[in-house]
Every structure is written in structure tokens, then in C-alpha cells.
Symmetry: C2
Subunit: 381 residues, 2 copies
């Protein structure tokens, strides 16, 4: 068996999940408290690789669907995981051998650990995005041709919904409508798959990566931003303060934007981030600095703690970073599914490193690589 | 076996279902065409009483959920009934022995005949309301303590949803949200029950009643309104022309109102009908002439054909009638569930015959019983 996750691993995991979340998927503090309680009341959780499980074993892929804001006040009842597992086992006619988070980013990266402790199930060291994305069809399993059907949803009251849809986009529509009616969010098991399928259809090692990021940030060897350069290959887009936040919760999503005013070397610059649960694009003077599927992350300028789309507020001193997405999202099918056009933007995806290099952004992945001599307000040389 | 329903029965059934619909549940012309085609392509359908079926036989209770307007353009795919039946049989682990309409009023009174012909299943001579009501918990099965769970929904594309809810009001909420997302209406099987349960938890004989009303209207013995007096105990509320119609489709319901200006003996009178899919209340000068659960029906003044909430339009010459509801709706639990307060009105239910009699409306159930000497604008003596 691989790592046995216990209380000591949780803070690092939470911190790493926040960095990988691209700002989305809820309040990590609450997720951390829930995981702590579950591990305290039950048992440590085995973090396993597919090689430690039988090929035909059934993996329940679980997460919270809905708008991040709601999860702050609408707490789990505690029985959701058990109820989903029972229904999944009935639908598949065999036992669940492990849990996997639908995405590593945010709340959903912690949830399998909480549920695994309660149910005595191992957690697969993998997820379905390598980050967080807002919609059900935005999963690596979707790219691999795995159906989101049948999916199961439940809420803290005990309502249970089984959805069988003609395709994964209908799953998004029907699951979203149910989540909205259930109060804005719901627990869900979807894209449940075999261990053999998980080997090629998921982002492997992402739980370990999250813990590695978190641990490195906990005791940074020098500047905490250097940690992000080393662990995820981050680029610094801008440092400044939050000038404006516009946010609304509508139709099961949080949508809005954030404007960051550069400070210091970035004085005179204005960078706008647009949001659908996650930070989707970073724009400066109408041009993209970075976009989905690459991960745009806002961190506290002092501590490098990630700041989610629902925590960000006026006046915060922040640094916006971006880093390359999991390679599968950079394939043509990946870009079709989660590139800027999939979110309604009228421009093509360009990998963040190419985009910045074309803008004369030198020094590769150094966070302070922006040449100080470039004209203000643009990255152009 | 009871009656074998064939093409000859359909027009009378459609006409009767329209009268019992209280204006709700869709376009009977389309429902009639669908039933005709099904009987032509398949077989006649046995209309049976519970005594002709085994007590523990499973009855699938089916209907269309959604807003009536949508059914005009969003036609069945043809496989919905089969898909629901398969899923219901799987959930219950035994075969369906008969179909029952969730309500006799409108489209849902014809649907079991169409599906019964396609699937070779008999139709139970019963339904769940004796009329039509807009919400899932407004069923006699709900009063009898039968759960709407598990319910199954499907659409013309092939999406399938199984709902298990903590109570029947949650069923209404979640089923409505899904119906809206599926395009405004969906096919549903809910409150599925045994033949023994159907004996006491449904409105028995309602399919026969609908056909009796329809037949009597087809070849009226004298004034067609006398037919309605004889068959359902109707009272005439007002005759006139439609002065104004306000209608909107929102959140899975049609809502709105109709104003009728009296003509002839009813000159100077204005009667307002309020709508949630069905006609809920008839008001004159702010006072109720009739209300749910009693059936308010608008008929063509010349032919006594029922006019639904989505067919009614400016200028039509109409007569508004009201008739007593099925007795179970007049019990305290019935009034709690479908009385005026259940629809947000701030007045108590008074049976239509008592209300009119208190207003000095003499002559009992005669359609022309309103004394000609009463002051205009009110029923008061």
C-alpha cells in the first residue's frame, strides 16, 4: 500500500488543492475541518495507485456539484457518501473498491479523503481534471470516451437522483438543474469507472502532487513563489491589489470578474480575471495573458496562499500566477472541451508559456521574469 | 374484461377529458391524434376495473409533467412509455399489469390509452385526481399516504431520471426542475401502486365518466349545457365573451388570468379566472364564485366544447361552469392539499353549491338558474 493519509497530511493537501483549484470549488478551510473530523472519528485513509487495486475493481468518482458560495453555508449531512456508494453498488452490481475525486482542485480534492475515512475505502491517487473545471463534461474521462451515466446525486436531506443521459452535456444540464433545486449544490458520483480505465482516463498522481505543493509552501526554501515555480512551473502575471470584484450566483454557477491594479514594478497595469466558478482568463488591455485550460491562480502576495473566487475581495494584495495545464487538455479534443471557445471566448488557446514568450516575457518560469524595462501596461517588448 | 377501447371510443373520451381538465393539461386534439395512431398501429385497449386484476399486480401511474403550452410543439418520441415501464419493472422487480393516468383531465386522461395500445397493457378505469391539478403532491394517492417515490422521468431524446425524495413535495420540486430543463415537459411514472392500493387510493370509474360525458355531448338530448348539469352537476357562473387573457410560461407552469365580460342576462358583469395550468378560482368584484378543488370549466357557448387555458383567447363567446370535485378533495386533508390556500389564496374553501346558494343563486344545478331579478355585477339577492 502507498501512503496512509492521517491528520498530519491534511493541511498540506488542503493547501495544494487550493493552488490547483484555479480559484474554484469552495472553501478549503471547511473541507479541511470536515476531513479532520472524519479522520479523528474513523481511520486513516490509504492513498493508492491503480497498480495496488484489481483491474476490474469499481472506482466511485465523487464530488460536490454546484456553486462554491453555497458550500459555505450548506453543510453536508454526513450520509451523502454512503448513500451514493449504496446506489452505485446497486447499479453496477458489485462493490466499490476505491474513491476518486472528480477534480483535485479545491473542496473536491479533499472530499474523497473525508468519505474514505468514514467508509473505510482507499482513495485513488488521481482525479478527473488535474485542476478544477465548472462543468460535468469538462473531465478527462469525457475525453477518454467514458460516459458520465449513470450518475447519482444526493443532498443532506436524503433525496436521491439517478440520471441516465444521452450524452455528457445532457448530464451537465440535468445535474446542474437538480443541484440548483436542491439548494445550489449537491453531492454526486459520476464517471464511475474500473481501475483499468482509471489508468489511462484520469490525471494520475494528482493527490500526491497537491500534497507536495502544500508541503513545499508550508516550509518554503526561500521565496514561496519559487516553490510554485518549482512545483507547477508557474509564471507571474501581475502583482498588485484587488481594485474591483463583481460576483453573482446564477443558474448553479458563480460568474463575475476581478480587476487587479498593479503595484510596484507593475504600477499602471490593470489585469482583469473573468470567472465561472474558476478563474477562466486573465486579460490586459483586451488581450489574454493566460486562459483555460491553463491554470490561473491568485495567491496572497505575502504568504502565497491561494485565494478562491469567492474569497477574493477589494484591497487584498495579491499575485496572479498561471501555469501549464495537464497535457491532455492541450490536445485538440481537450481544447475543444475546455479551451477559451468552450467558455464563449472568441480567441484561440495559446499555451501560457508561448503566449508570454511572444509578449517578450523573458526568463521562462521565473516569477520575477517580467523585464523591468518593458513599457508599462503591456507585456510586449 | 370490461370495455375494449377502440377508435370509436376515442372522440368521446377526448371530449370528456377536456371537460374534466379544469382547463389544464394540454391540447386534446393532439392527444386524440396520438391515441388514434397507436390504436391503428397496435391493438384495442382493455379498460378494466381493479376487480379484473390480481390484488398485488403493479399499476404504472403515468402522465406528462410540465406546462401545457409546451406539449403543443414538443411531441413524444414514442418510446417514452416503454422506457418508463422497463425502469419501473426493474425498480419493483415485477411486471406492470396495467396503466393508469395520473389524472383524467386533459392529455393525461388519453395518454394511458395511447401507451396501453403500444405496449399491449390494459388501462385501469381510475385516475389520481378526478380532474387535473398542476402539482405532483396534488393526487389522491398522496392523501392516501402513498409515496410518489421512486418516480421515473424520461424525454423524447432518451434521457432517464429516477427520483427518490424524502416526501412528495420534494418530488414536485425536483421533478418540476427536471421537466423545465428537459424543455418544459417530460413523461413520468410516479405513485406506482398495487391493484389493492388503487382500489381505495384513486378516483375509480373516471375513464368511464369521461366517455359518458363525451358521448352525451356528441348527441345532446336538448341543450348541451343540460348534459353537463346531468353528468357532472354543473352550475353556470357566467356567459359572455373573453375580454382579456394574460398568460406566461414560467418555472414549469402556465400562470395568468382571463377576464370574461357578461353578455345578455349577464350584461355588466365581469368575471376573472386565475390560472396555474388549470383554472383555479372564479372571482367577481373580488369575491370567489367558485374555487379549487371544485372544477371550473370554460366551454364554448355554442357547442359546450371545453376550452383549455392555453386555447382561450380574446373575443371567444364562452360560458363558465363549475361543478363539485371528487368527495375526497372536500375532506380537511383534501382541502389542505388542493384548496384555495394551497395555491396562495387567502380565503377558505366553500363548496360551489353552498357558495352559490348563499349568494341567492336559486335552482340548484340548473345552468340557467341565476335569478334574472338579481342586481347586476353580483350574485347576491
Amino acid at each position: 500500500m502507498g501512503t496512509l493519509l492521517d491528520q498530519r497530511h491534511l493541511p498540506a493537501l488542503a493547501r495544494g488543492c487550493a493552488v490547483l483549484a484555479a480559484g474554484g470549488e469552495g472553501d478549503l478551510h471547511l473541507a479541511l475541518l470536515m476531513a479532520r473530523q472524519a479522520l479523528e472519528e474513523h481511520q486513516p485513509v490509504a492513498l493508492v495507485s491503480p497498480d495496488e487495486l484489481p483491474d476490474d475493481g469499481l472506482v466511485m468518482v465523487c464530488g460536490q456539484l454546484g456553486t462554491p458560495l453555497v458550500s459555505l453555508e450548506k453543510i453536508e449531512g454526513g450520509d451523502e457518501g454512503r448513500r451514493l456508494r449504496e446506489c452505485v453498488e446497486q447499479l453496477w452490481g458489485r462493490p466499490v473498491v476505491a474513491l476518486m475525486g472528480i477534480e483535485i482542485g479545491g473542496w473536491n480534492g479533499m472530499l474523497p479523503v473525508t468519505w474514505g475515512a468514514r467508509m473505510g475505502l482507499p482513495v485513488l491517487d488521481a482525479d478527473g481534471t488535474g485542476r478544477a473545471f465548472p462543468e460535468v463534461q469538462m473531465m478527462t474521462m469525457h475525453l477518454a470516451g467514458i460516459s458520465a451515466s449513470p450518475a447519482v446525486m444526493t443532498d443532506e436531506r436524503g433525496n436521491l437522483i439517478v440520471l441516465r443521459t444521452v450524452d455528457n452535456k445532457w448530464m451537465e444540464r440535468l445535474a446542474r438543474a437538480s443541484a440548483v433545486e436542491l439548494g445550489g449544490s449537491a453531492s454526486m458520483a459520476t464517471y464511475n469507472l474500473t481501475v483499468a480505465q482509471a489508468r489511462t482516463a484520469t490525471v494520475l498522481g494528482s493527490v500526491s502532487l497537491a500534497m507536495r505543493i502544500g508541503r513545499a509552501l508550508q516550509s518554503p526554501d526561500g521565496d514561496p513563489f519559487d516553490v510554485l515555480v518549482r512545483t507547477v512551473g508557474a509564471f507571474r502575471l501581475v502583482s498588485g491589489k484587488v481594485l474591483d470584484v463583481e460576483r453573482r450566483t446564477t443558474k448553479g454557477f458563480m460568474r463575475g470578474s476581478v480587476v487587479i491594479e498593479g503595484l510596484g514594478d507593475d504600477g499602471d497595469r490593470l489585469v482583469r480575471l473573468e470567472i465561472q466558478n474558476e478563474y477562466l482568463v486573465a486579460l490586459e488591455q483586451g488581450e489574454a495573458l493566460a486562459s483555460v485550460p491553463d491554470n490561473i491562480c491568485v495567491v496572497d502576495s505575502a504568504t502565497a496562499d491561494a485565494i478562491s473566487t469567492e474569497q477574493i475581495r477589494y484591497g487584498q494584495r495579491v499575485t496572479v500566477i498561471a501555469f501549464p495545464s495537464t497535457p491532455v487538455w492541450r490536445t485538440p479534443r481537450g481544447i475543444d472541451t475546455v479551451g477559451p471557445r468552450a467558455f464563449g471566448y472568441d480567441f484561440d488557446y495559446v499555451p501560457v508559456e508561448e503566449r508570454l514568450s511572444a509578449m517578450g516575457y523573458s526568463g521562462g518560469s521565473s516569477l520575477n521574469a517580467r523585464p523591468r524595462s518593458t513599457p508599462r501596461r503591456r507585456f510586449q517588448a
